[in-house]
Each structure stands twice: as structure tokens, then as C-alpha cells.
Subunit: 660 residues, 2 copies
């Protein structure tokens, strides 16, 4: 163990294990998580080869091998209830596996959507087959030409009365299904979203189970063209596919009919409220925010913080000894605010999950009143967390200098994987504009005197026109910081709402006016969500039952997240004079002071994320801090170093070289 | 050709060819560039395999094969003067090759540094061998434990009087050389930077030519351990290496002795001004800024702009026809400011190169008076251009939605390649702090009444305390915009200089105070460089001899670059009341208006970058706009689609699948 990192751990002012338990949700949960990790990581059949040296094809094959073993054997033996997204094991499994794996869509989207869309009869027919991996499914929604505008999907499913079948077609190039995970080479069934057409009438999107590969030969069925879409930026453990369907006939009962059905004569009938389907999309965004984004940020923080404490460079005294780069304020400013963000987002998402469970209970009782707010929160948090996580991981990667560019650091893999999250499950700009739509409606409600509650209640509150702070210390105060964020959000919303009215009064059409103001609308949505994170994480910490030391530390982290936003993006706080120049100077000085006071707990704070070295996969971020030894070891084992002379390349040099 | 892109080209208001010539530096230069591109791209031996499917090892071997052919055959036959960084061909070669290739360090760093550091005798001995690729060299400076603090490099070269040799050592793990390109498997010589020790005394860093591999067997020489450092984020066409030296003896004449030498008794003598060595580092930063960063940004702009014009999604009228996503203001706001930045940076770097040539002439005459300013500009522009390029490429990648995540878009490759530029050739934060050091000195000179000229003259000027703008239109005015940036930079510098004095007065040590203020110092440096870019690009356009249409357009682009910074980072413009809330609103409205007026020239503006499809390597950004056809084609040719059934993975599925 590096002496430098031992020294860091000696400086830690709190019990790391207390914070670990707190993040897991209790001591027992920590024990459960560690035992799952131990089972998975100690199983030789679950071992992965070192990243960076496999071809795209090898990655996929390795993942299929591992995950087929996992689902049909390991998980079963351990009685992990893998298809239930709410079982405690599921929350810990993704930490132990690499973030994206084969059959994630099969198990995480195909299986649950059978119960989301299917009748009880359909569920009992298809779900057992899928759960046991006797069939492999994918979820075929996005098309080559359509992602965000789902209403314009071009795939059709036309009812044929004569045979009581549907005829499924992707009528042109742009309508072929594109991107679905597990589709390229693995799946033999697809849940296809298509325009339902009966008796010449379009009834909108419905879900159909379409067999795409033969169960005996695995070859594409007649009328089906299916394959892999080719190499992508990362996440190559799975096979994203394309699918063309040419008059593919499926039995009538393959239309999933929980909310709508077609009778023998082709008459369409809506039998339930399909808005309930949206509830599962909300859940997916919440799950991904934690499992993909926050975990990636926490891992990157762990790597960068530990490395910054063992990397020495330069000095702060003339000709003095070299010091860890973590002692530089610029480095603290890169690393510590990201650690704070990783905590604040984790606390926020715990609260969101809690609210989502209540919301589901309401929905089950038929109460849909919180639908719009829940949708805004889940969309906004996904957009904001992904955007800030990606920026954070890249900042942390660069904070590790040259070694952050090496795959050996583990950081490039984290960045490439997480950056997709700004696009999938709702492109961020589109999501922000949906949040803005909710906010504009809320503003209209408020101006009509309607009451507003929940996460938007503050929009109806009266606030001070100026921040009251006169000292640095006040900028650590959560309610003062929250007031800043409330004010900014209110002000941006009022301003864009007024501009919108103005344009409409000038005679602009609604959609045109909306487009002209869309930059402002996105900013307003961001401000609302950022306020939500500031308020929610602080109130989560306030309610925590923990030691005073830990509570103090977590309060500091919450302050830092808010402060860092103010000092780095002060524009909208200054614009209408809510903050003045002097106050911004105070905030900036307060931030530097806070960074320095958190400095000695940096390693403790990332140790509390409790990622085992095998999960981190980083030479420079391992627990023992032996960065250089591990880098050297990694290099020596490089495939290109098998032989001193690399014959394949040397053959092109040899004919030219000068012979002494 | 896509009808949509034809329509875009019909809307273009200017002659694209005029702008192409302007960017190349004249009609003849365009012809020369195109002929070089044609020669290279039509040569079957120069063809590269599709990216995304090769292993790290295959990429390296392919690059060695191509580049060995290029240097020893193709370039020779065409009489391209490849080792002269100032010959016109060199400016165009990197466009045609992929951005980083094997032997780039050999030809671009090893060869020129022989003349930078060597005596005439040494140059005539080594350079012909290296130019002809009879020997392959690398440049071994960075160590595992030291990158930015060069003075603390640990490699030693100790003079042995008895044998008239140097004994070169990397005495411990952290001192082994790490990262040098071409070192891992190719090079047989290394230019090693080491502490020179004679008669027990350390004389600081000198350059030594150390043979590392046997010229007959290519095996490492005795005492040499050398290999590849392992997989990195991108740029894998070359072999970054590590090197341990254990008592490796080299002849006395292998110390490059242009500026310093050691006599037979071991007496050290400085014979020239080694500050001149810095001049070559400045040039490398300037070259990289254009060849790596600006080209990458221009390519990404080309891809995103064309794709945004052929991608239809949603509508701006209820149930209206779908429209190109380029019609959305949020999309315009992602794409067009990056196009403007790509132009502004290109104009700026042309001016910087021009100034560098003048500077070199001064230096040759013994006039070093512009050293500090030139250093600040070249460091600052490298840091700022790399930072904004990387952010820009990622914004453009995300603007292409899901398809931007596919390697088929060409965007991931651009991002991964260019993001290294924030770290290599001077880590950005370190560079900004060097610029800040220059600024603080300048501020001190000004306060002592000394005159300041060149790029910092404005710091001594009196400026208005408030911006005078009262209308949107004024925010297109270059001198009004320049005044904003001048004011911001002055204000930030004054404020941090005052804080520095305050801390010193409180008794803080210089280095401690510097550290405490380093966030502010970085911001001040950024503001200075951003002002330099705003002013330099605008004055470059002002002096251009071109059609009024093109001039108007380029003026708009320069305005947009400045405006976009103000609207997105308004904090420091608002902070002391230089801009007020109303003016910021005007600026924001002015920006939206400008985006819309540039909208119809978007394709023309990126066509003018004139990247051939083979160089772009993008399915979604090709000239003809047939994005979907090309994506489908790319997918069909994926290696994993060779057979319908992918046997290697299917073997793990087969035993489990349900047999109908």
C-alpha cells in the first residue's frame, strides 16, 4: 500500500463504514451487496478479459457466454430474483457486472414490457419462456429515421380479417428498426412497436410480439432481414441490431392487449388507460440515472481522487519537496465538486425512487394526479444527471493528465459508456423541453390562482428580490442557497412565459413561438431541475439519522454542489441583481475555503463508494494507491509485448533499416 | 444525392469555391491541396480499413505498413518535402492522412529536434539517416512520474571521463520514460532528455541520442527494457512506449551540443541561449492547434450540419409535414456557433502563424523581446482551442442523436482523438497558469508606468465602465463586442492582481497565495485568450480581400463567436455592471436572430471546409446527404453479419433455447 494513501486515510475524520452503510441503505444491505459481489467476482466463469484488447466481436461473444451462464445458472442457484426490478438484489447486481451486458434489454425491457402491455393470458404464455431464456427477446421501437417523434413511426401492423393475422411491415428504408439491443445476433423474438391498422384505419402505436429467428436453426424467418448495426462508441458487449420486416404474418394473439384489442371483425377497442404505460418509462429513467450515470461518476471520482493523492508534481515552496497534486486548488476544484455532485445526485435519486413508489401506489388506486409532475422530475433528472455526469467524468479524466488517456486508468471506458446516456431513453434537449412544457402550464395555473404543490410549489411563493448574504459563511447555508436557486428558476420561467405571451400577442403561432424561445425554455427547465437537486439532497441529509461528523460532512457536500453552480454559472443569479458583485466574490472565496476544508477527507469520501478494485478496473485508482506499479504491470502484459520484436510490423521496417 | 441537401445548396448565398480558396490561402494552394489529396487517396497502398473493427494491434500494423510506404516511396516519388514543417505540402498532408499515424513523432519531433539541439556535425551525421527512415527515432521526455514538472525529471546521464562516455539511467520505477510515440515497438533510437551529471555536478536537462534496439535483430540492446504502454483511448495507430535504461553507455558525441557541451575532462560549458529551444515548442503548439484541433472541429461541423439538414423529425405546425432538425433553434444553437468557432479559430491561427514567422526572424537577429508574449499566445491558444474544440465536437456528436454514437458517423473517432489535445504538449490548466503569470507581470509593468504593446496593449487602455448598446443590432458590431471582451479581461486581471497583493500583504508566501488564487488566475488567462481570438479573427476578416457577400458572412460568424460566449457565460460581463440585464436580453435575442439568418448557409459554410468523403469517414455526413442508405450499407457489411447465424455466440444460446 502506498505510504501516501495510508497518510490520507489517517487524516479521515469520520468512519468510512458508516457512510458506506448509509449509501447502501443500512448495514444489512451492505452485507447483502458485498456477498453478491463476492459471489459474482469470485466465479471464474464470470471473469472478463482485460478491456482494450478485444475486438468488437470478441466483446460480444464474451458477454453472451458470461450472461447466459449468469441468467440460466448462477442467478438461479443463488435465487436472485433478477426479473424484478424492485428486488434488493437487482439494485446491487449492476454494480458487479460491467455496466452494459448482453441480454440486458431482453431481461430489463422485453420481459417487463410483456406484463406492461399484455393480458394475463399473454403474460402467462410468454413471460416464463423469456425469464428462463428459452426465448430471447428485444424491444424494437426506434427506427432508422425516427427516434424522438414516436407518433411518426412508420412500421405498420395491418389486420387481415380472413386469416385473423397481423401483417407487419417496415415499408421503406427509414422505417427499419434500428438500435435495439440484443437484436443484432441474439434475439429470436422482437417486441415491435407499430401503427395498428384495421379496416383501413390507423389506431396508433401498439406492441406486437414478432418471432424473427427460427427456434431450431436460429436463421431469420421468411420476410425478416436482421443484423448487427456495426461498431459503436462503447457498450459493445451487446449486439445493437436492425430489422426489416416484409409482410411478416403473426397470429392475432401476438398483439399485446392489456389496454386495447381488436375483435375478429377488426374492430378496435381501447380497454384501459394507456397513460399507465408511461409509468414504466419513468421508472427506467430513474433506474438508469442511478445504475448507469451516478455509478459511473462515483467510479471516476474514486479513481481521480486516489490518483491525485499519490501523484506528486511540483511544489508550493521554492525548491521544496514535491507534493501530491491534490494540494493544488485547481485540482481540488476539478475533483471535489464532482464528489459532492456524486453524493447529491445519489441522495436525490433515492428520494425520487421513494416518490415513484408512492406514485405507483396512487396510480394503482386510479389516482393519476401526480403524473405530470412525476414525468417532469424523472425526465429532468435523467437529462440533468446525464449531462453533468458526462461533463464530470471528462473533467476527472483530464484531471489525471496523460494517464487518464490510457485505458489502464479505467476512465476512458467510463466516459464512452456514460456519454450515450445523454441520448438514449429520451434525448436531453427533448426531455428538457418536456419539463419546460410542464413548467409553462404550471405558470399558467399559478397566474390563474390555482394552487401548486410538490416540487413546483416554490414557483407560487413570494421571494426576496435580493440575496441577504453579507459574509462568506452564509454561503454554506442550505436555505440561503436554496433561495438563490428558487429565485433563478422563478425568474427564468417568468421571463420566458412573458416572452411567449408577447410572441403570441404579435400573432406568432404557438409552435413557432415555442421554437423561437426554445433556448430560454431549456434554460428554465435546467434551473428548475437544478433547484430540485439542491433542495432534495439537502433535505435528504437533514432527515438522516447519522453521526454528527458524517452529517456535517454531507451538509458541506450539499453546500458545495450549490456553490459550485453559482460560481461557475453566475450569470442568471447576477442578471436581475439577486446576487451582486460583492456577494459573488464572497461565494467564490467561500468555495475555495470549503474545498480546502474537504481536502483531507477526499480519500475517505471516495472509499465510501466502496467499489472493489475488480469493479473499478483502474491501475491508477486502486485501493492501495500503487498507481505506477500497476501501470508498469499493465504495460508489461500488453499483447504487443509478447515478443521483443513485433514481427508483424517489423516486416515493413526491416527492408529499409540501416545495417551498421 | 438527397433532395434535401440539393435544396440546401440552392439556398446558399455565396460562391463556396471562393471561401475554399480563402481558407487554403489562394486558388493555387487549393489546387495543390487537392492534387496531394488525390495522389494519396487514390493510391491503393494508402487505403485504410474501416475503423471500428480492427484491434489495437491491427491498427498499429496497418499504420506502419502505410506510413513506411508513404515516407520511403510515395512522398519521395512526389518530391514532397516532408521533413520541413513550413513547406506548403506539409500543411495539407495531415488532412489527407488520418490525424495521427505511425512515425509522426519520428518525422515530426525526432528529425527536427536533431537540428534544434545538435551541432552542424551532429545534424549531418544523424538527420539524413532519420529522414530516409534508415533509423527510426522517438522523443523520450515524459516519465511515468513526471510530465509537467520537467525540471524534476529523474533520468540521468553521467559522464565517465575514463571512457569518454555517458552512462544513462532511469534509476527507479517513476523515472522510466512513458508515452513517447513510435517507441513501443518501432524505434531503434531515442532522443532522451536527462539530467546531465559531470564530476558529481548536475547541469540540468540535456538531450542525448541513445540507440535502444539492435540495427540487425531489432532486439532491445543490453541494459534497455522497452515496450508498448498498452491500449489508450484513441490514436492507436502508433505505439506509445515505455523505456527503462540501466547503465546504458553512449559515446560522448551523442550528447546534442548546440547550446552546451562537455569537454574531455568533464567540464560543462553553456555555449548558446537555450531559450531558443522553446521556440520549437511554440511552433508545435501552433501546428497542432490547426492540424489536430481545428481540423477535427471542422470535420465534426461538416458531419453534423449536413446530417441536421437531411434528418427530419417533428414539425412546427400542427399535423404539418416533418421538417429537417436544422430548423429547430435548439439545433441551430448547437451547430452554427461551432461552425463560427471553427472559422474564427482558423483565422486566428493563420494570424498566429504569421506572427510566429516574424518572431522567428526577430529571434534569428538576436531579438528575444517578444518571447514572453509569443509564449503566452501559443500556450493560451493551444489550451483554449483544445478545450473549446473538444466541447464543440461532443456537442455536435450529441446533436446527431443516436447516430452520433455509432462509429459510422465518424464523430466518436473525432472526439476520442481530439480530447487528448487538452493534455499533450502542455496540460491546459498548467498552460493557462503560464499565461496568467505573463499577465500578472504585464499588470505590474503597467502599474509601474511601462508601455505595453502587442496583444496586451489593451490592458493599459482606459475603457468605459458600461457597455453602450441599446439595440439588438449593436451586438453584431465587432468593436462593441471587442470592448466587452477587453473589459472582462481587464477587470478579471485587476481583481486577481489586487487579491494577490492583498494575500502577500497578509504575509502569505508567493506560491501559497498563487495557489489560493489559481481558479481566478485561470479565468483571467482564459478571458485574455478569448479576447485575443475575438479581436484577431475579426481583424483578419476586416483585412480580407474578398467578395462583399463572403465578407458579410464571415463578419456574421465572428459576431456569433463573441455573442455565443456572452450569452452562455454572461457572469463576468454582468458582474461589475458592464452589461445590464436588459442588454443581456438584447444580446440573447440578437443571437437567435443571427442563428436564423445563418441557417440557410449552413451547408455552404461546411462545404467550404472541403473535406472529401474519404477523409470525413462518415455515413451521415457525406457530401450527397444519403445518410440512411450509407448507414444501412455500413451495417450490412459489418463483420458480424458475414453469416446469418453468428456461430461463436450461438453456441452459448443453443443448449438453452426452446424447441417449438
Amino acid at each position: 500500500e502506498s505510504q501516501l494513501i495510508i497518510k490520507e486515510r489517517q487524516q479521515t475524520t469520520f468512519q468510512v463504514e458508516e457512510l458506506i452503510n448509509l449509501l447502501d441503505g443500512g448495514k444489512e444491505k451492505t452485507a447483502l451487496r458485498r456477498s453478491i459481489e463476492q459471489t459474482i467476482l469470485s466465479d471464474p466463469l464470470m471473469k472478463t478479459d482485460k478491456i482494450g484488447y478485444l475486438t468488437r466481436e470478441q466483446k460480444y461473444v464474451q458477454s453472451v457466454r458470461r450472461m447466459m451462464y449468469f441468467f440460466t445458472d448462477l442467478a438461479k442457484r443463488n435465487k436472485w430474483n433478477i426479473e424484478d426490478p424492485h428486488c434488493p438484489e437487482m439494485l446491487f447486481l449492476s454494480r458487479s457486472l460491467s455496466s452494459v451486458v448482453a441480454f440486458m434489454i431482453h431481461m430489463g425491457a422485453f420481459v417487463p414490457s410483456i406484463s406492461s402491455f399484455g393480458t394475463l393470458e399473454q403474460v402467462s404464455k410468454w413471460q416464463p419462456l423469456a425469464k428462463e431464456c428459452l426465448i430471447i427477446g428485444c424491444y424494437a421501437q426506434t427506427e432508422l429515421g425516427h427516434g424522438t417523434n414516436l407518433r411518426r413511426l412508420e412500421t405498420t401492423s395491418t389486420f387481415d380479417r380472413n386469416t385473423q393475422e397481423f401483417i407487419v411491415n417496415t415499408p421503406n428504408l427509414s422505417s427499419m428498426k434500428w438500435w435495439p439491443g440484443d437484436m443484432g445476433k441474439s434475439a429470436n423474438h422482437a417486441m415491435v412497436m407499430a401503427q395498428l391498422i384495421t379496416n383501413g384505419e390507423n389506431h396508433g402505436m401498439q406492441a406486437f410480439i414478432v418471432p424473427i429467428r427460427d427456434m431450431t436453426t436460429h436463421k431469420p424467418l421468411p420476410g425478416v432481414e436482421v443484423g448487427n448495426i456495426g461498431s459503436i462508441m462503447s457498450l459493445e458487449d451487446t449486439d445493437n441490431g436492425y430489422l426489416r420486416l416484409n409482410n411478416v404474418r403473426i397470429p392475432k394473439e401476438n398483439m399485446l392487449a392489456k389496454y386495447a384489442n381488436v375483435d375478429r371483425s377488426g374492430r378496435f377497442q381501447q380497454t384501459g388507460n394507456n397513460r399507465l404505460m408511461y409509468a414504466s418509462m419513468m421508472n427506467l429513467r430513474i433506474v438508469l440515472t442511478r445504475e448507469q450515470m451516478i455509478h459511473a461518476l462515483q467510479k471516476a471520482c474514486t479513481i481521480a481522487a486516489r490518483y491525485s493523492c499519490v501523484r506528486k508534481q511540483g511544489s508550493l515552496t521554492p525548491n521544496g519537496p514535491e507534493i501530491p497534486i491534490m494540494d493544488y486548488v485547481t485540482q481540488q476544484n476539478k475533483v471535489i465538486p464532482r464528489i459532492a455532485l456524486a453524493y447529491a445526485l445519489d441522495f436525490t435519486i433515492m428520494e425520487v425512487r421513494h416518490r415513484y413508489v408512492q406514485f405507483l401506489a396512487d396510480v394503482t388506486r386510479g389516482d393519476l394526479s401526480n403524473m405530470a409532475e412525476m414525468h417532469a422530475i424523472s425526465s429532468g433528472i435523467k437529462a440533468n444527471a446525464s449531462e453533468r455526469t458526462v461533463a464530470g467524468v471528462e473533467t476527472l479524466r483530464r484531471a489525471c493528465g496523460g494517464h487518464g488517456y490510457s485505458m489502464a486508468s479505467g476512465l476512458p471506458y467510463l466516459l464512452l459508456s456514460v456519454t450515450g446516456s445523454c441520448t438514449y431513453e429520451g434525448e436531453n434537449t427533448v426531455l428538457y423541453l418536456q419539463v419546460a412544457r410542464y413548467l409553462i402550464k404550471t405558470a399558467a395555473n399559478i397566474s390563474m390562482g390555482k394552487s401548486v404543490d410538490g416540487s413546483s410549489a416554490y414557483l407560487a411563493e413570494n421571494t426576496e428580490a435580493r440575496c441577504s448574504a453579507t459574509s462568506q459563511e452564509e454561503f454554506y447555508d442550505h436555505s440561503l442557497l436554496d433561495a438563490c436557486f428558487k429565485h433563478r428558476s422563478k425568474q427564468l420561467l417568468q421571463s420566458v412565459a412573458m416572452d411567449l405571451q408577447g410572441l403570441l400577442a404579435e400573432g406568432k403561432q404557438q409552435m413557432e413561438a415555442w421554437n423561437l424561445l426554445s433556448i430560454q425554455l431549456v434554460n428554465s427547465a435546467k434551473a428548475h431541475i437544478e433547484r430540485y437537486i439542491v433542495a432534495t439532497s439537502a433535505s435528504f441529509v437533514r432527515k438522516l439519522n447519522c453521526s454528527l461528523k458524517v452529517k456535517k460532512l454531507l451538509n458541506q457536500l450539499c453546500s458545495l454542489v450549490a456553490l459550485h453552480q453559482i460560481t461557475n454559472f453566475p450569470g442568471d443569479f447576477l442578471k436581475d441583481g439577486y446576487l451582486d458583485s460583492h456577494q459573488l466574490d464572497l461565494a467564490r472565496k467561500a468555495e475555495v475555503k470549503l474545498l480546502q476544508s474537504l481536502r483531507h477527507n477526499v480519500v475517505g469520501l471516495v472509499d465510501a463508494f466502496d467499489f472493489r478494485d475488480e469493479i473499478l478496473g483502474s491501475c491508477i485508482g486502486a485501493y492501495d494507491g500503487n498507481a505506477y506499479e500497476r501501470l508498469y504491470d499493465y504495460a508489461k502484459n500488453d499483447v504487443m509485448n509478447k515478443n521483443d520484436v513485433h514481427e508483424e510490423s517489423y516486416q515493413y521496417l526491416r527492408p529499409h533499416l540501416h545495417r551498421g
